[in-house]
Structures are given as C-alpha cells and as structure tokens.
C-alpha cells in the first residue's frame, strides 16, 4: 500500500527474484484462481493422483495443462492501454505458445505473488518486459529439456513454436501438454541458465497484436466494475459533501426512505481535512434494490452540512493570486550560472504567463465497485488501477487484516489516474458491512465531476532573455500549483521534487543561465494525478515559450530546438537541483536523458510531416516536443481553416522513441487517443470552484473532445530501437496542446496563454 505518487516507486521494491520463487503458499493461492476444481500446481511436488491433472506453472504468471491450454495471468489493470494483452504476449512469445489459444486470466490484488500491480505512471512494460520474458523463457527451457531427454537429442537442436516442441533432425514434434508430467520432475533452472530469444525470433513482440478483449467488448460481454452482479446485491448512491472537508450536521431521510425500493440510509464517516488520497468523503448513502431507486432516494435527501473551511473557496481568485505570486522571487529549485548577472547585459527579455485550470478525469465509466462483507472477510470487485492499495485501504477501513480482503480486478472503463484512488472501493466495503449484503456503490456523472481528485490548476511565468546576438542566455521559470501531497498534508505548500521532475526542472535545453522557482499554494480540494500529471502544464508553458523565443531569434522552431539540445550527450540535472531528481523512479545512469534520442524524434517528425513546406494561407503547423515517463516524443499539429472560418485539426504527427516497441498497434492507439484526450484539455475542459463547490455537473458543462472537432488524422512514427522499453500511456498528452497552440498562432497570429482556448 502506498499513499502517494505511484510512479516514483524505487525499482528495487519490485523484486523480480521473489516473483520467480514459487512456494507451497503460492500454489495454494493460485489454485483458488482455477475454476471447476482444476488442480493448478506451481510446486512440482504437487501432482494429481496419477499425474494426469497436473498443470505446469513455473511462476505466478503462467500455467500449462495437459490439454495444452496455456493460461497467462494479467496482473496489471486494463484501462484501455492494452496492457492485459501486451504483457501476456511477451510471455507467450518467449514461450513459443500458440497465441490464438492462450487464455488470459486477470489476477487478484496480491503484491507478494505478482509484484507491483499499481497500473500507473506508464511503467508496466518498462518494469515487466524483462520479468515477463524470463517467465516465458524459463518455461520454454524446461519444456525443451524435457523433450530433448525424451527424444535423447541435444536440447539446442529443439525449438518451441505454436505450443509444440520440435526437433527438425528427427522430424519429431510434441505438444507442450504432453510434456507436463516430465517437467514436473525437473528443477526450475537457474535464472542465468535461461537464455532469452534473440529479438529477431519474436513473432508477437514488435508486431500489431489485437487486444485480447476486442470481441467481448464489441459484443457487450466485457465485464466492467458496475457489471458485476451478486445474489441479493443492493445498490448504493451517495450524497457526498459538496465541499471537501465538509461534515454532516443533520439528515432528514424520510422522503428518501419513502422511495419505492429504498431500504436503508447509511452515513459514511468522511476523513474531514486533510481529505487524504485513500479515504471516502463524508456522505449519506441511500441503499436500494436498484440503481434508479437509489438515485431518486439520494436526490430526496435533505442534508444540513457543515461545509468547513473550504466553503468560501473560489478557484478563479486563487489562480489570480497564484499568478500574482510569480512576480516575486520564489523558492529556487534549479540554478545554473549567474542569472542575475546575465540578465543585466541582455538586450531583450520575453516575459509570458500561462494559466491552466483544474481538470477532471471524466472516465466514461464513473467510479463503481462491488463489495461483499461476510464473516469478517470482504470480497471486492473493482475497476481499480491499484488493487493492492485498494485492498489495504479496505482492510484498514473495515479494521480487518489485508489477508481477509480479496480484491478482484474488473476491466476499467477508463482510468487516467482517477481509479488509482481507492475511495469508491472503500465506500462499497463500508456499505456492505453496514447492510449485511453485497453492495454496489454507483457514482453518477455528477458525483464523478464534483468529487474527483483533480489535476491541479497552475500558474507559470517564464522570462527568456536574449543577448545582442539573439542567443538565449537566460531562462527563468516560475511555477505554482497545489501539490498532490497537500491532499494528505496541508503543510506541503510547494510542488514536490517529483512533480517538478515532470517536465519542469528537467528542462533539457543548453541555456547558460537557468533558474526555476516555485511558489506557495494550498489545496482546497482533492488534488490527484491525471494522465501525464504536471507534464501537462509544464510542457504547455515551455513549448509555447520556446516557440516565441525561436520567433524572436528569427530561427525556425525545429532548428531552434535541435540547436538548443546541443551535442548528443546524456544530461544529468542533479547537480543543479535543490532536491532530488526522480527520473520516474529510475536511476539516471540506467535511463539517462539523451539529447540525441530527442533530436532524432524531432528530425523524424519534421521529415514525416513535411515541416517547412508551403501550406498556403489556410493551413499551418505547430511543433512541440516532450520527454515524459522516459519516452521521447515530438509532435507536429496541422490546423486548417475551413470555408466556414472554423479551425480544425487536420493532422497530428507524432514521432516516438519508447525503446523496444512491444505491441505496435497499441502504441499507435495510445497516441491516437492521447491526442484526442489532450485536445479536450487544450480546447474545452475546465473545472472551476465557487463557494467551495465544483461548477460543472455533467458533459454539457465539462466538455471533452467529440468526433466532429477531434483531430482528423493521427500519424504515429515509431522509432526502431533496441533500447529498454518505456511507456506510452501518458507521453502522447504533454506535447499536443502546445503544438496545437503554436499552430493556431501561425494561422491566426494569436498566442494562447490560457487553457482551454477556443479554436
């Protein structure tokens, strides 16, 4: 269980060695996954009565039965990135399985068994590419050994493909399933004896592989959080404090109880302030036999609230104050050179400010979870990104042991960071205990928009100074936004080192004098993380400013970026920072900031998009680039003015270097979707607070991209790379909005300093 940022988890916490040490305990737990009493063995001493029922499971992720059914455990949550396909296909490829016959089973939340399951921070592939290869290769090694012993041939003359071991010399072949009774007698090979396949031998990795669930989704059979149905299950809809930190003074529930189908009214004790990241808000739950009755009952509640200290909160006023604060000196977080000296001799300083609003995640599936508390234990089904955190939070809320909570993970109808937080899961557990029956808690869209963990509003001021030869000699960046940590700890009034490492202090350009400063701000609501987190506002400000600097220097923006990235080299920011450089939880030595790789994606996107060509008067291109989550991305947006005078995005070009590309189709789809997601952030979405309450209620007032205005064509160029793989869920988002703004400027002559802006 981890209360704060998910993506700064030190790698050593995910110890792959423990994953590969099967134990009797693992075997027993795994057997619970099997349906119909199938014997699922992980320990090789565990054979069936005659050996025929034995399943070969050399690690927690993989098992093969005697009928050659290969089952692979997906231990990360599927929220649309394709991870439920991409990690199992790595195992299958190394194993030599017949992918069309592989069965994928979703793991329950269990860190001891599966390692880290926190599906966040774009690190599933980064963290598990090697362990998954090992998992598949270990099994293949044993199967090859078993076959070669059976045939009395050399092991290296055999190979595994399509679920069979072949020996070309003797033209012998055998199904994996038929080798099960042999491999059960074998020791698991030492890790160093297991040889991974050369990359060229892969048949799945590096290819377009359709997602496992595509047919279930297209036929309506896929099971999301709210689709779980249990006997005698009740439905709860909750009226939560409209202001964060509010408490119930009194409730008149007579009208609610009069609604046909309403059975019980239950108070949920809220955390108060600080609100925390893993606790429910205070609220009154209406529990009914069906969702409609629960909604009507909830609407009929009369609640008197003590709204607490945030009841006067006005986000427009706070943003104004935040912006004002950036005029003063702040807390210096990065310092290079002698900026005060340097600016004395500069000939021009460009000073710009950038304001971004709160954003809500607005997953189309609003939060929902099912819990069944009985006999001191709780079984939960939830669309959670972080099953382990949810499991711990449920245990803590119910006062039971973590081991007494079973956390089943359904498909997630979108996540984007919202469903990392276990508050809604905890609600279901508390209400099931109170009700004495299974309960599904169902959030409405209004609940979702009113009670999110929002992407923080932000104000930034950048001063860029040029010398007489139009060289950029000083960069002074002020940033202020309420920290995620402030949701749990009000004393945290500056952005954390981790948040600054998301596109701010890792400013990569070769400018001799740099100062990055932060200012104080408080959290008046629950702040969380949204797809790419602080990269959203930092990338916007920096890339928009870089475009202005290029213009002031009379240099093309692409050439400007390439020039300022300088020689191919590895950057290390540590020596200039007052604080730590998180580097997304990885060491900078292992995952350096390579200017050469960034330059390569910039050159690639410029070439593919035809940057520099004459587009005529009705079209323009804008450029931005951003390394985030260790993936290098360059983006060109093409805008076009139609006959009706409206501006539309005709094309988006992305070049991406994410190291080894595992599932190329899902990489493209993340970029396609990332552009649409970011288009909404750039042009239509904003959450505001008045009197402590959110002013947007549904998709009429909180707008996200719709098909007519969505970018029309999205081209994704994946760099061929043998570097370590890095994530692609979040990296498409940061460069899109500034590339769009820079394109709109080219077309209209108008710069955009506030999001969202209408195009």
């Amino acid at each position: 269980m981890r209360p704060t940022f998910p993506f700064f988890k030190p790698k050593e916490e995910t110890d792959s060695s423990k994953i590969f040490k099967p134990s009797r305990r693992d075997f027993l737990k795994l057997s619970a996954l099997a349906s119909g009493g199938v014997f699922l063995g992980i320990s090789f001493q565990c054979s069936g009565p005659k050996g025929e029922d034995v399943i070969f499971a050399p690690n927690a992720y993989l098992s093969i039965d005697k009928d050659n059914l290969i089952t692979i455990i997906a231990h990360r949550s599927e929220m649309g990135t394709g991870i439920r396909t991409s990690l199992p296909m790595i195992i299958a490829d190394e194993l030599g399985a017949d992918w069309s016959k592989v069965k994928i089973v979703q793991a329950d939340g269990d860190e001891d068994k599966y390692g880290d399951q926190n599906t966040d921070g774009s690190y599933s592939v980064r963290m598990f590419y090697e362990p998954m290869r090992k998992a598949g290769a270990t099994a293949r090694h044993m199967l090859l050994m078993a076959a070669s012993q059976k045939w009395k041939v050399a092991m290296d003359e055999c190979y595994a493909e399509n679920g069979m071991v072949h020996h070309p010399g003797s033209e012998k072949s055998i199904n994996f399933g038929e080798l099960i009774s042999d491999v059960q007698k074998m020791e698991i090979p030492r890790s160093e004896d297991v040889i991974l396949k050369p990359f060229g031998d892969y048949k799945l990795i590096g290819k377009d592989i359709p997602i496992y669930d595509v047919k279930d989704i297209a036929t309506g059979k896929a099971v999301f959080g709210a689709d779980v149905d249990l006997d005698n299950m009740k439905i709860a809809v909750v009226s939560r404090s409209p202001v964060v930190g509010g408490k119930v003074i009194s409730v008149n529930d007579s009208a609610a109880l009069a609604v046909n189908g309403v059975e019980k009214i239950v108070k949920i004790e809220g955390a108060g302030l600080p609100a925390g990241l893993d606790k429910p808000l205070e609220g009154i739950a209406v529990i009914a036999t069906n969702t409609w009755a629960a909604i009507k009952g909830r609407n009929a509640l009369e609640i008197e609230w003590d709204l607490g200290e945030n009841q006067g909160y006005d986000s427009v006023a706070q943003l104004k104050d935040m912006l004002e604060s950036t005029k003063e000196s702040g807390k210096v977080r990065r310092e290079r050179g002698e900026i005060e000296e340097a600016v004395k001799s500069t000939s021009r300083t460009i000073e710009r400010t950038y304001e971004l609003p709160y954003y809500a995640h607005a997953t189309i599936e609003p939060p929902a979870a099912v819990a069944h508390f009985t006999n001191g234990k709780c079984e939960v089904w939830a669309p959670t990104q972080h099953p382990q955190w949810a499991r711990g939070a449920v245990a803590s809320a119910l006062g039971i042991e973590v081991a007494d909570v079973t956390m089943h993970v359904t498909l997630l109808g979108g996540g984007f960071g919202r469903k990392s937080k276990p508050d809604f899961v905890v609600e279901a557990a508390i209400l099931s205990k109170e009700m004495g029956s299974p309960v599904r808690v169902q959030w409405t869209r209004e609940d979702d928009l009113h009670h999110d963990f929002y992407h923080a509003l932000s104000a930034q001021r950048i001063k860029a100074s040029l010398d007489g030869s139009k060289n950029l000699v000083a960069w002074n960046h002020h940033t202020v936004f309420p920290a995620i940590g402030a949701t749990s700890n009000p004393a945290e009034v500056h952005p954390s080192d981790g948040e600054l490492g998301l596109g701010c202090v890792d400013f990569p350009y070769d400018v001799p004098n740099i100062r990055i400063e932060t200012h104080e701000s408080k959290a008046h609501t629950r702040i969380g993380w949204l797809r790419s987190v602080s990269n959203i506002h930092h990338s916007y400000a920096i890339n928009c400013m870089m475009d202005e600097v290029a213009e002031a220097r009379g240099v093309d923006p692409i050439n400007h970026a390439l020039e300022l990235l300088g020689e191919d080299r590895n950057l290390s920011f540590k020596e200039e920072l007052d604080g730590d450089f998180s580097n997304y939880g990885e060491s900078i030595e292992e995952y350096p900031w390579e200017t050469g790789r960034m330059k390569a994606v910039i050159q690639r996107v410029a070439q593919e998009a035809g940057w520099g060509q004459n587009l005529g008067g009705n079209k323009a291109m804008g450029f931005a680039c951003q390394k985030s989550f260790l993936t290098y991305v360059a983006c060109i947006v093409v805008v076009e003015k139609g006959g009706d005078g409206k501006i539309k995005v005709s094309d988006v070009h992305y070049a991406v270097d994410c190291g080894i590309a595992v599932n190329t189709d899902r990489i493209r789809s993340q970029f396609e979707g990332g552009a649409q997601f970011a288009h909404g952030l750039a042009t239509s979405s904003a959450i505001t607070f008045k009197n402590g309450k959110v002013e947007q209620h549904n998709f009429d007032s909180y707008q996200i991209a719709r098909m007519p205005e969505a970018p029309k064509r999205i081209h994704v160029y994946i760099v061929d790379s043998m570097e370590k793989p890095t994530g692609v869920g979040e990296p498409p988002v940061p460069p899109y909005a500034p590339a769009l703004a820079n394109a709109v400027y080219k077309l209209t002559g108008k710069r955009q300093y506030k999001l969202p802006f209408k195009i």
Binding site: G80, G413, A675, I704
Partner: protein, 152 residues
C-alpha cells in the same frame, strides 16, 4: 410500481418498475443485460444507446413506461453470433481501448447505417457527435463504420 412487457432482442420480458425508471436501469438491474452502459444519466454521452423502434435512443433518459410495444435492440441482440458488419469491422480495426463506451458507439452506428448505408465522413461525424469516448478512439470508429458500410 407497474408491470411492463418489453420486447427486447426479439423476446418478451416482464418487468415490474416505477414508471419513471429509465430503460437503462430496467435492462441492467432488472433484466441483467449489462452490455448497455451508464455514463451520464442525462443523454449527454451516448454510452447507453440502444435501438428503440429502429432509432438510436439514450436509454438513460427514456422512461420504461414510454417504450410501449416498440422493439428494443441492445448490443446483446445486434447479431446472434456477434458478427454484425459493425462488430466485425470493430474487431478488424481493433477500435476499442478501454471499451466502456463502445456498445453505445456500435448501437448508434447501427442506427446510422440502417438509415443510410453509405454515409459520408461528415454524416458519420455529425451522427456520432453525441457518443463520447474518453480514450479517443474516434478515428478508428469512423474507419470501422466505413468498412461496415462497404460490406452492407
């Protein structure tokens, strides 16, 4: 509470419900048909789209009492084997990401193709404007509708 006989996917179903209960909740909670999704409750996102009398309707905002004897088709009944041209095209283009909005997208597209088997890009965009996808699968949805259209 009233009794209603609903014609859904070619079969009659009896439900006992308040007259203002939206069809969505009758489908999901009373009949256990979970393919139709709840997204906004205000006919603003399209996740709950079903066909009622051949027209795409937002089931979250259609009271069960207003359905009458009109034929209701949900994602479960779009085709017997899950091979409606739209479903096949959805699979061919690997349209879904998280998948939650896709039942509604497919049902809305089905109504479009029934009315106009060969829609232009602009018609697709305008008809699909009310179906939100937070993952941003819009361009693949459009391509899949065109592929399905070419096979009708």
């Amino acid at each position: 509470m009233e009794n209603y006989t609903l014609k859904i996917n070619g079969e009659s179903h009896q439900v006992t419900a308040e007259e203002d209960m939206p069809l969505l909740w009758a489908l999901r909670d009373l009949l256990g048909m979970k393919g139709t999704k709840f997204g906004c409750g205000q006919a603003l996102c399209g996740a709950c789209t079903v066909l009622v009398g051949g027209e795409a309707m937002r089931s979250c905002s259609l009271p069960v009492s207003a359905v009458g004897d009109q034929e209701v088709v949900t994602i479960e009944g779009l085709s017997a084997k899950g091979d409606h041209p739209l479903q096949s095209a959805w699979i061919e283009h690997v349209v879904p990401q998280c998948g939650y909005c896709q039942s509604g997208q497919i049902m809305n597209a089905a109504a479009l193709l029934q009315r106009n088997p060969n829609p232009s890009d602009q018609e697709i965009e305008s008809v699909m404007a009310g179906n939100l996808c937070r993952c941003g699968t819009y361009n693949r949805i459009k391509e899949a509708i065109k592929t399905a259209s070419s096979k009708l």
